[in-house]
Subunit: 151 residues, 2 copies
DNA sequence: CACGGTATGTCAGAATGCTGACATGGGTCA
DNA sequence: TGACCCATGTCAGCATTCTGACATACCGTG
């Protein structure tokens, strides 16, 4: 079937390419995570907790790029299944610090390996200096877009 | 509130940064598109049609990174509101080539300007050669991820 | 020509995420 | 100290997208 016609300048738009790369990455992650019974948000939440134990619901939501409400639903499921624990009462304020259980940590290990293989495949054609450059450029893009907005 | 703690190596993961950049970009686009009564998918569809008139529903879906079914719902709404037209009967096969109406084209112009301003803000801190480098690197990432999969 | 394989448009149901709203706790500044 | 503002956790309703399924149309091979 005719997919890519001649040169369309959509392919020269960094915004479009960014969306495409993100979409392809997400699909690839879903594929390797599905056999483990995990979604991408599910994995993101666990990975965040492994690297920063004690994060709150809202902080996890920001880290996984979803709303507090969505993360809350996920956390309740994870808690019910024994992957994470939250104190019944907040030690300070209303913030409930979340922590991985040993079961959650074990579950995460397999997922991390799977995701790492995806990331390696993504970076296979890039040299170390290109990867460093990509990191710098992406941060610059994010920086430019998060400047208080509205002109 | 404590947002960014000390160095966490999430910030060195290209995959995570890619997701963050894409999320920030999408949010910024939603902000400038909302006053025009447009969503990002809505805009993507119109922009695709402007650059490649006569695209089918399925091709538009792939270009906007949604399913055929979602794009179909959107196209029905766009057709109902007079932004696009589709022949009642397929000239060949089942494929219904879609085209922008003058109204749709006018509507798109304002959106394109708004989105362009967002993209400019995103690229403000980058030199031309850095932008070209980013383009090359993103394509390489996509290429590495779309290789037939399943190693 | 008949055939399986693939792609398309479309309908319906299910899942996921988001918006709106509320009560509560903490910090700041007068 | 009291008032205000902001952030948090959580509940409920809504919107959007996805998954599953079907009939149809093309295209290659035998």
């Amino acid at each position: 079937m005719g997919q890519d016609g001649a040169g369309i300048n959509l392919e020269t738009s960094l915004g479009y390419l960014l969306k495409e790369a993100s979409s392809v990455l997400r699909t690839a992650m879903e594929e390797v995570l599905r056999p483990l019974g995990m979604t991408v948000t599910h994995y993101s939440c666990l990975e965040l907790l492994a690297q920063r134990p004690g994060l709150s619901n809202s902080e996890l939501a920001r880290g996984a790029f979803v709303t507090r409400q969505s993360m809350n639903v996920l956390l309740q499921a994870l808690e019910r299944d024994g992957y994470v624990t939250r104190p019944a009462q907040a030690p300070v304020g209303k913030v409930l610090p979340t922590r991985l259980t040993p079961k959650g940590r074990r579950n995460l290990e397999k997922a991390t390996a799977a995701v790492r293989s995806v990331e390696l495949r993504m970076l296979a054609g890039l040299t170390d200096s290109e990867q460093a450059e990509a990191l710098r450029i992406l941060k610059a893009m994010i920086h430019g877009l998060t400047r208080i907005d509205q002109c």
